[in-house]
């Protein structure tokens, strides 16, 4: 499991809340690789350090992914703040990702 946790400034200014996300990928499949890159770029640009991201390789943890209700890869699940959201695809459409994550672009 690739695990990347960035937990700085969790109790920072009121305007910034921590976004908890989980990205499901399929090893080094092109779309998955692209998704990681795209997400990292978005986080860097819009969330600074106010996010928690877990990256799960479904080929490594298939039964966990099944239990999480993952269908296709890559899939991004936003757990908090509510409402929860789910995004599929390589996250190349930045504006729709931001909208789904509830971030003002």
């Amino acid at each position: 499991m690739r695990h990347k946790k960035t937990d700085r400034n969790a109790f920072g200014p009121a305007a910034t809340t921590v976004v908890v996300m989980c990205l499901y990928i399929a090893n080094s499949a092109p779309n998955s690789v692209r998704a990681i890159a795209n997400l990292e770029a978005i986080c860097k640009e819009h969330l600074k350090d106010n996010f928690k991201l877990e990256i799960i390789d479904v080929l490594e943890y298939p039964l966990r992914a099944l239990a999480d209700g993952i269908v296709v890869t890559p899939s991004l699940a936003k757990m908090s703040p509510s409402p929860a959201a789910k995004i599929i695809g390589n996250l190349s459409d930045k504006s729709s990702v931001l909208r789904a994550l509830g971030i003002q672009g």
């Binding site: 399929a26 499949a29 795209n38 269908v71 890869t73 995004i87 599929i88 459409d93 789904a100």
Partner: protein, 603 residues
């Protein structure tokens, strides 16, 4: 071609789906270790087919399966299948894994995705439960999300490669594709990739939904190429597979009762076992009653019987028949008789056929009634109904069931059989019932129009119903007219009176002759008595006379002795005496002298 060696065709390995009719249609089921594509519009039965194949694999061969649902949620699927007796909730716990692959509408799509993750998960699950079957249900839903023909093709390839790496007994992909125009760009490619394509269709004909199935492609195998009706029962889907072209029915010489003795006589001894009988007639001519009588007779022989009625409840039929002395309820209770009634319009004619097949399989009847078969003309198109009616009869014949079907015809002329179903040509026996109206009466008449392979009466009989059941009565033809009802009754009365009169006359004459005979006998007796008396009298007279002669000759001798007569005289006297004795011994009893005297005095 002469020099080349002909390759011996190796049969393609197949795996049975356990779906009734389909395995016959496909000559064994789906291609083993290959992909089959089920295509068709919404509600055409693809999902049921796929799910039922999985259920059968588990139940019949204990082969677990995976069902990937792109279109419906697992909960929906299980709820939808609740009408079938598959016990799906139990199977879903341990034998069939349902993967909820339906993307909720809230899911946002951003950019391309692929199935590599999903296939990885499926591989793990397959190994975990040892799945041998896999279904991708509604792949079109997923493919349309890909939004790009290149990606579609890539993902289809991905699935194919996965299936090649992860051997399963059979893989089924279903896709919502209506007709030949496809929304999926790679529809043609999908078809090319799979080894077997089965098309499902649901269409409306005269307001009745008809389900059809057709195998459009089967690599390396022959198959029945036509379009076949599909129906849904408690056990799931059932395909009405075609009957083999060759008719292999064995003709039986056994006769069974058509219901009652008089009718059997008219038929030359009853119906042949396994034959089919058509009863036509306008409404109210007692077609059902005759059929009911046939059923009662069959149950009476202890034979399992099936009574199929259309548009009238079984209970009502049993009640109506009991009014003419036909008791079916007891037969139903004993389990010999199965009554099934169906509404014609709700399902197509072919569905009725499939239902009937299921009933026959279940009940295993030896005799069967379909009342009225003409009702199926109401469900769906007439061409279909016509074919189904014929197949009803062929089905019964194949199963060696003696079948009696009724059909309503509108006119009273049997030749104008207005049933539209044209079954009269394939029925072995055709009984026509009609009304004859004369002198303000309506009477039922029964005619046997044909009865193959047997003598039958060509006479019209009157069908009389009473609480003791149907009866046939002779009809009178007087002056070229057929007499029935009251007229027949009058004629019968007349005939009876004549007979009584004739008998009385005869008796009278005989009595007179007997009296005369007795009289003559008495007279003979009296005369005989007279004769006897006269004989006795005569005998008495003769012996009296002899005594007298003996006495007189003795006196003469005494006299001669006293008077000392000369010897010559004595000798002469002796001679006379001996002569007289001789005469007496001959019965005359007279002495010669006396005789001479008498002869002289005789008139």
């Amino acid at each position: 071609m002469n020099g080349t060696k002909k390759a011996v065709p190796r049969p393609l390995p197949k795996i049975a789906t356990g779906i009734l009719g389909f395995d016959e249609l496909s000559h064994g089921g789906l291609p083993r270790n290959r992909i089959s594509l089920l295509k068709g519009g919404p509600g055409s039965g693809k999902t049921v087919f796929a799910l039922q194949s999985l259920v059968n694999a588990v139940r019949q061969r204990n082969e677990p399966g995976i069902f990937v649902a792109f279109e419906e949620s697992t909960r929906q699927l299980i709820a939808n299948a609740a009408s079938f007796d598959w016990g799906l909730p139990t199977l879903a716990r341990n034998k069939i894994y349902f993967m909820d692959a339906k993307l909720s509408p809230e899911v946002v799509q951003s950019g391309e995705f692929d199935l590599s993750g999903m296939l990885g998960m499926l591989k793990a699950k397959k190994e975990e439960i040892g799945a041998r079957w896999i279904v991708f249900d509604g792949i079109d839903v997923l493919l349309t999300l890909l939004q790009n023909p290149m990606s579609e093709m890539r993902e289809i390839y991905r699935i194919r490669d996965w299936l090649a790496d992860n051997e399963v007994n059979a893989a089924i992909i279903t896709a919502k594709i209506d007709g030949d125009s496809s929304e999926i760009v790679n529809y043609g490619f999908l078809q090319f990739m799979v080894d077997c394509v089965i098309r499902f269709e649901r269409r409306l004909e005269y307001g009745v939904a008809l389900h059809r199935i057709q195998i459009t492609k089967y690599r390396g195998s022959d198959f029945a190429a036509g379009e076949y009706p599909v129906s849904f029962g408690p056990a799931g889907m059932e395909v009405d597979a075609p009957e083999p072209a060759e008719i292999k029915q064995v003709a039986s010489g056994e006769r069974i009762s058509a219901g009652f003795e008089r009718l059997d006589k008219m038929l030359g001894g009853g119906l042949f076992r396994g034959s089919s009988t058509l009863i036509t007639g306008v409404p109210g001519t007692s077609k059902t009653t005759l059929a009911g009588k046939f059923v009662e007779a069959a149950c009476g022989r202890g034979e399992r019987t099936l009574f199929v009625s259309f548009d009238e409840s079984a209970d009502r039929i049993a009640r109506n028949l009991s009014s003419v002395g036909i008791q079916l309820k007891a037969c139903v209770k004993s389990g010999l008789l199965r009554m099934y009634s169906a509404r014609t319009e709700t399902i197509g004619a072919e569905d009725h056929l499939v239902k009937l097949k299921a009933l026959i399989r279940e009940h295993r009847p030896r005799c069967m009634v379909i009342d009225p078969i003409s009702a199926i003309a109401k469900s769906g198109g007439i061409a279909a109904a016509r074919a189904v009616a014929n197949r009803f009869i062929y089905l019964a014949k194949d199963e060696k069931i003696t079948v009696m079907v009724t059909a309503i015809n509108e006119g009273d002329e049997p030749e104008a059989e207005a049933t539209d179903l044209q079954i009269s040509t394939i029925a072995d026996t055709w009984i026509h019932l009609s009304y004859l109206i004369r002198s303000g009466e309506r009477n039922r008449a029964l005619t046997i129009i044909k009865s193959r392979g047997t003598w039958h009466s060509n006479q019209v009989r009157e069908l009389v119903l009473s609480d003791a059941g149907p009866m046939l009565a002779d009809v009178y033809t007087a002056g070229g007219e057929v007499l029935m009802g009251t007229l027949r009754w009058e004629k019968e009365g007349e005939e009876r009176a004549k007979t009584i009169q004739r008998r009385a006359e005869f008796d009278q004459k005989r009595e007179a002759l007997e009296v005369a005979e007795a009289d003559t006998r008495a007279r003979i007796k009296a005369l005989q008595q007279d004769l006897e008396r006269q004989r006795v009298e005569l005998a008495m007279y003769s012996s009296d006379n002899e005594a007298r002669i003996v006495f007189s000759s003795d006196r003469k001798k005494e006299l001669g002795r006293i008077r000392s007569a000369d010897p010559a005289g004595r000798a002469a006297t002796g001679t006379v005496t001996s002569y007289a004795k001789r005469r007496a011994s001959k019965g005359s009893g007279n002495s010669g002298r006396k005789n001479k005297t008498e002869a002289r005095h005789a008139p």
